[in-house]
Symmetry: C2
Subunit: 325 residues, 2 copies
Amino acid sequence: MNERPRHGRLTDYNTPLIEQRADPYICCYDGKYYFTASVPAYDRVVLRCADSISALADAPEKTLWVKHTNGEMSRHIWAPELHLIDGEWYIYFAASMEEDIWRLRPYVLKCVGGDPMKDEWVECGMMKRSDDDIYSFEAFSLDATTFECKGKRYFVWAEKVSVGIQISNLYIAQMESPTKLGTAQVLLTTPDYDWERVGIWVNEGPGVLKHDGKIFLTYSASSTGPEYCVGMLSIDESDDLLDPREWKKAKKPVLCTDEEKGFFGPGHNNFTKLPDGTDVCSFHARTYPEVVGDPLYDPNRHAFVMKIVYDEKGEPVFDYKNCFR
Amino acid sequence: MNERPRHGRLTDYNTPLIEQRADPYICCYDGKYYFTASVPAYDRVVLRCADSISALADAPEKTLWVKHTNGEMSRHIWAPELHLIDGEWYIYFAASMEEDIWRLRPYVLKCVGGDPMKDEWVECGMMKRSDDDIYSFEAFSLDATTFECKGKRYFVWAEKVSVGIQISNLYIAQMESPTKLGTAQVLLTTPDYDWERVGIWVNEGPGVLKHDGKIFLTYSASSTGPEYCVGMLSIDESDDLLDPREWKKAKKPVLCTDEEKGFFGPGHNNFTKLPDGTDVCSFHARTYPEVVGDPLYDPNRHAFVMKIVYDEKGEPVFDYKNCFR
């Protein structure tokens, strides 16, 4: 499927790092960069590894895991993320099933060895909620990420509520283990503003950036066409991360469609660092506005990377001119 | 039903103003005080009128409207509130139907004359959401209140989300007319903290207090037994009331069970003023902790009134010692 990536007008900025990889995720461990993403067929978890972010573009891609033919994890394999937790490799991803294609839930894979590119991966099943939580993962749930702060590990994910056309919110909980939450969910953000409510009311795709004692949590908002954009929460590392009222929310998106620069529907970003410590944001976008059919099945969400700079208040600045390859 | 109100130990403080009236609501117009509330049979809308709050205790109660035998507004007639809007009287209340007893929705009555105690009341049907809103009043919705700020009128109500045992949130929207919203809902508060999650995760029963340029919005949290309590949001009148991130939320309840003073499960409060300008909070509570059966059908939620004082920061203080009759 989709052998020929389609491009709109290419500018100085909008040449992708990697084509046709949505929900891009890059991490760096021991000097090696790893890249995973949703593939257009939504049928597998892939991983590539290289010595630099730029070299990821031509690095061979390995399929770590393929969807089942039916039952759990048989459809919509979305947004994998690779995390090293207490010395062991995990991949978090979302999946539904052929029998119920919108029954998205978060699942976990674990690597049985120390090399995520070479060693075997085994299934750990669905992410488990805490014993006192009757709400989490009851409905459409996806885009899980995890991060550590002051010795505690947290899980952030998107989950839908309401009847009819549902609303996608972001939730946070502390983790008891890599495969189970230890606290009940709290609501981090719901689509409050008009720019989060274009098409479907959506908050999803959380990504975590730490800088100078603060945590910035970006997320994607609205439907997945050109209206898709990136919003941001922030909190001091010393605050209670499970108190949603401690998180501040930016009233405007931090990254959105820029027709002139040729980026359409940017979103689902994540963060890593260059060897010199520079923060880098990976994200996907299209290079053209006119999506034919359901944007979800348009394969041309390409992976881009952008250097982050900080303003005088210490807040990250997302500028397409800082994209690189 | 429930001819003999049951009391626990009565203290100096906890003698009710009016017995067996839950969700008490008092307002004052032209020197007259009006009182309405949920009656234990949940079958009607009642109103009484007197020259003072204390005199409401012995004022005759008039039935303004009785539930239908089936269909809309035939069951669970709850939490009426009387409001004078642009010179006309309205009552907002919640109701379900015999055929679907938990299908609570907000309804509106209108008085065809100028005297709410004497003139006829007619039905205006269910409160209507705005044309661009597909979410409001789709699920269990109740406890609506309305207030004005800087020439705009707002509607605040509780509505449930999620699957299984649902979560009750508070929403706000601007009103286009007394019977229709003019903007899509925004989420004001969800049960974030442990004290809002005892039994069922609930935020409901909003009440609005204005003081010195600020708006305080109290609400009730948790299940309706002794765990029921009152939380509070606040915002400057000059802020954007439809931006939920402008509202501050108190991290602790402002009113909760006090065994020593003999108040159990206080909640569903509202505000009015004494002739000298002193703010008064009406609320319900039980005088004993041990509820037999479903707390919702225990009739002994009695109506109390309490004078509000303000602390050095200008925030209201809720102290049982300031209850009066």
